[in-house]
């Protein structure tokens, strides 16, 4: 068994920042990641980092913009923390050598982004995420922090108490992708999940193939609530054939959207008469799809994003990689022709419920970055707010996990006197399948190890050992099974139904159809097997385990979407085209109790440190 004070799962921006912070507090830290750190998907983030750095701007304005952008579903304590800590964290990156774009006086440049009242997005060309990721990894190397790269974490080692709030996380189970060895990892202080987004739930996504929602799914099955899962951001500018992202920086610099008739529809059709292309992402994504649905799309599929008028010099200086992406992946030269774009799945606003210190209700378990929902983005994330989230909350969770006292969190996790139980009318039973109730079924399902009736609280090492035993059993089962169905077929089916039915525009029947399809996939998953017999670099095995995580994540997204009968931020329901503040100024939560998802709600916190944010109509 490997043993460290703090284990960080995932090595994107949030994981690396957490590891550095924990290390600075004196903890023995290890990072466990299924990729090598520089392969993490943070590297593909293009836009920038919002931070109130300049005269005329303030963290309060940043917080106001973020709350408005969230459509009043962000929690004020989280948003204010983000906006207060972001300047220092951003400058820290500069101090660590990050190659930001520069002004004439040598200071870091800032530019306008959608939904911001001040040009406060710091950036490094159109490859900010790449530079952020590499700068952080450089600091990890400098500090000699242990990295278990290409180790895939498959299970959390959490004690088995009927009450999730009394459970403790003592470590993780992972396998070495290169050798197939399965090992337990004991965390003396805490485990920080930083596993990124679940974009692979959809088939048209900007997310990497590795973004399979592993962290949320594992935490969910260990009893941690999933929060606001219905809020999936669809980015307005992705390349139609691949889903590759074209940064919001293009619109920030003045890029224009046209429909097939050459109309600048954001203005001409009244979607955002003031901000036009720089309205927030949900607004632009809906506008584009409406144009397509009403017959004004190019090739009935997409719209045009034009940056030619910006001039070659400015494009090369600030958007050079956009030229490469459009050329390599769509065969379009952005200097001489407009780029085809359409909305694509981009970001999950929801995730593992945490407080503003990154802690979940299971003690010793933290979550940060896109896999978490500290609730800074509410129902719609502003461009340029994901990267500050990584560094701000990554640092806080790392420090807290290392034992540093950050003061009591204002956001409360788990159930309180304010929470209410919800109900949702599902066409099929959601959750785990216990067919036949044999051990094999439970193992194939990836379910929790059956309690053996022991009433004694096990030692931490034993909790890890038990999880290791259960995981070995699951993997042996998947490897030894001779025939059945393979994950690739199931993945395609799941992705198709999610893209068809849980997309930008949602209907009740579509959501119910998605739940039926997800159930069917879950049933077929009982019969899944791994055909590659080798333990060496068995990506078939890895993808099969990821598939289970995709199923649980997809179901949580769809259940949340079905429950929320209103239109808020990125969540649009055909039957309910209005925001319903009297009913829905609250978060949706799902808990996995004995394999059956339970729906409940908690109120959104609109009271900040000095002011209360009053919900207003969002117009741009």
């Amino acid at each position: 068994m490997h043993e460290h004070d703090v284990l960080v799962v995932g090595a994107g921006g949030a994981g690396l920042r957490a590891a550095i912070a924990a290390h600075e507090e004196g903890a023995d830290v290890a990072i466990v990641t299924k990729l090598h750190p520089v392969r993490s998907h943070t590297g593909a983030a293009e836009g920038g980092i919002n931070a109130a750095l300049r005269e005329g701007d303030s963290w309060e304005d940043h917080a106001y913009d973020t709350m408005k952008g969230s459509d009043y579903l962000g929690d004020a304590p989280a948003i204010e923390t983000l906006c207060k800590d972001s300047p220092e964290e951003t400058i820290q990156l500069e101090n660590w050598g990050m190659p930001f774009s520069r002004e004439d006086d040598g200071r870091v440049s800032q530019r306008p982004f959608g939904g911001l009242s001040f040009p406060r997005t710091t950036y490094a060309g159109a490859e900010t995420g790449h530079h952020l990721l590499h700068t952080l990894y450089q600091q990890v190397v400098k500090r000699g922090i242990a990295v278990y790269d290409e180790w895939y974490v498959t299970r959390l080692a959490v004690s088995e108490d009927p009450d999730p709030e009394k459970r403790e996380c003592h470590g993780i189970v992972a396998f070495d992708v290169q050798t197939g060895e399965v090992a337990g990892f004991r965390a003396r202080n805490g485990v920080v999940l930083a596993t990124g987004g679940p974009g692979q739930v959809f088939d048209h996504t900007t997310n990497a193939v590795s973004c399979t929602g592993d962290g949320p799914a594992m935490a969910y099955r260990a009893g941690v609530p999933m929060e606001d899962m219905e809020f999936i951001q669809f980015h307005p500018t992705t390349l139609p054939s691949t889903g590759v992202l074209i940064s919001e920086g293009v619109r920030g610099e003045g890029g224009i959207l046209y429909n097939e008739k050459g109309e600048r529809f954001m203005f001409e059709h009244g979607y955002a008469s003031n901000s036009g292309e720089l309205a927030s992402r949900d607004v632009v994504a809906r506008a584009e799809l409406t144009e397509v649905n009403e017959g004004r799309g190019v090739d009935d599929e997409y719209v045009h994003l034009d940056m030619r008028h910006l001039g070659e010099e400015r494009i090369i200086d600030r958007l050079e990689n956009i030229l490469h992406l459009a050329g390599d992946f769509e065969g379009v030269d952005g200097l001489v022709e407009p780029m085809p774009v359409k909305p694509g799945q981009h970001y999950a606003m929801g995730g593992i419920e945490t407080d503003e210190n990154g802690e979940t209700l299971v003690s010793g378990l933290y979550a940060v970055g896109e896999c978490a929902c500290v609730s800074v983005h509410g129902s719609n994330r502003l461009g340029g707010n994901a990267l500050p989230e990584l560094i701000v909350f990554g640092a806080r969770a790392g420090r807290h996990a290392a034992g540093t006292d950050l003061g009591e969190a204002i956001i409360r996790t788990g159930r309180t006197e304010d929470t209410e139980i919800g109900e949702v009318d599902t066409p099929v039973a959601p959750g785990a399948i216990h067919a036949g109730d044999t051990d094999d079924d439970a193992v194939a399902d990836g379910g929790e190890p059956r309690a053996d009736g022991a009433s004694v609280v096990p030692e931490p090492d034993e909790v890890v050992e038990r999880a290791l035993t259960a995981e070995n059993r699951r993997i042996d089962h998947l490897m030894e099974k001779d025939e059945g169905i393979q994950q690739a077929e199931l993945r395609e089916k799941l992705q198709k139904t999610m893209t068809r039915n849980v997309n930008v525009f949602r209907t009740e029947e579509g959501l119910k159809q998605a739940l039926r399809d997800i159930r069917e996939v879950r049933e077929q998953y009982q019969d899944v097997y791994v055909d590659d017999p080798s333990r060496t670099f068995n990506t078939d095995l890895q993808q099969t385990i990821e598939m289970r995580n995709l199923i649980d994540t997809a179901e949580a997204i769809t259940l949340g979407a079905l429950a929320r009968d209103e239109f808020r931020g990125a969540h649009w329901r055909q039957e309910y085209q209005e925001r319903r503040d009297e009913k829905w100024l609250k978060h949706t939560l799902l808990s996995w109790n004995d394999g059956t998802p339970e729906l409940w709600f908690k109120p959104v916190i609109l009271e900040g440190e000095d002011k209360t944010y009053e919900p207003k109509i969002r117009s741009y």
Partner: protein, 293 residues
């Protein structure tokens, strides 16, 4: 001296073999599975070959654990062709539809994670960045040359990572502003100078293409030297640190080994002028009149 991030592979290799001895039953099953995989691959080939618009790819196969794959070979797959299809799309299709044991690294599929560098029709390229339509067929896809093959298209990257870490690839300065909200200033010109060096995605294409690196496993190699360039030329680090960095790249297996064959520059998927960076460091080293071997 540098303290490279600890890499935890060795400690576990020892147990891997001992931990799970296989029973004769498992051995037999392994063989059966391997045979079945081969059969289904053949069948799918035949099926796919009947379609008109397919592309033929020949993929290198090797697995030290599976008897049938211990002798390296090429498998042929016929993949339905679509406009815009990349080499990565093709191998993913082959894996998802014909043979799930086909193994390769990939993640972002947009030329930034650097994990799918393969040897495609005799040249190092990123699978995701290479359009099938631009290639002669059948398309030959092999692991990066001069790297140890782990399985199929997956190569061992450890020595590459070690070389990258040997040049102290992290920002170092003793002169940070005291105020935590104060930035270091950097001129636009200086950022422009280091910009290309900061674009490296650690894909190892350049290392694989370099004849010198192939024959000298201690040679720092193009990517690490370019990484050293990116820091040595960064005005924020200061002159003392620049000298320190020049000393690292001037060592016996450093910049002077480069014979300016430009193969690294030719294959770099991010257009980094690696050879130019190496040459400029040579000039800097001479100018500083530091000792060289």
């Amino acid at each position: 001296m540098s303290t490279p991030a600890t890499r935890e592979r060795e400690s576990t290799e020892v147990d891997a073999g001992d931990a799970k001895p296989r029973s004769p039953h498992q051995d037999r099953r392994l063989q059966e599975k391997a045979t079945r995989a081969e059969q289904s691959q053949r069948e799918s080939e035949e099926r796919a070959a009947e379609h008109e618009n397919t592309v033929e790819i020949k993929v290198f196969r090797y697995d030290p654990e599976v008897e049938e794959k211990q002798e390296p070979r090429f498998d042929t797959f016929h993949v339905p062709f679509e406009k815009g299809m990349t080499v990565l799309d093709a191998v993913m299709y082959a894996r998802d539809h014909y043979d799930s044991s086909l193994t390769f690294r990939h993640s972002c599929r947009q030329a930034i994670c650097g994990s799918d560098a393969f040897f495609i029709n005799g040249r190092q390229r990123l699978g995701c960045q290479t359009q099938i339509a631009e290639l002669d067929t059948p398309v030959r896809i092999e692991p990066l040359p001069h790297q140890e093959v782990v399985k199929d298209l997956v190569v061992d990257m450890d020595s590459f990572y070690e070389q990258m870490e040997a040049v102290e690839p992290y920002f170092q300065t003793n002169e940070l502003p005291e105020d935590e909200l104060a930035e270091q200033r950097q001129t636009r010109e200086n950022r422009e100078k280091i910009k290309m060096g900061t674009r490296c995605i650690w894909c190892a294409s350049c290392m694989s293409s370099c004849n010198i690196a192939a024959g000298d496993d201690q040679y720092l190699g193009p990517a690490p030297i370019s990484m050293a360039y990116r820091f040595a030329m960064d005005e924020r680090e200061g002159e003392d640190m620049k000298e320190h960095r020049l000393r690292i790249i001037e060592q016996e297996h450093g910049v002077w080994r480069c014979q300016t064959q430009f193969s690294c520059t030719n294959v770099c998927p991010k257009d980094i002028p690696l050879t130019e960076h190496i040459q400029e460091l040579k000039r800097e080293a001479v100018k500083k009149n530091l000792k060289f071997w």
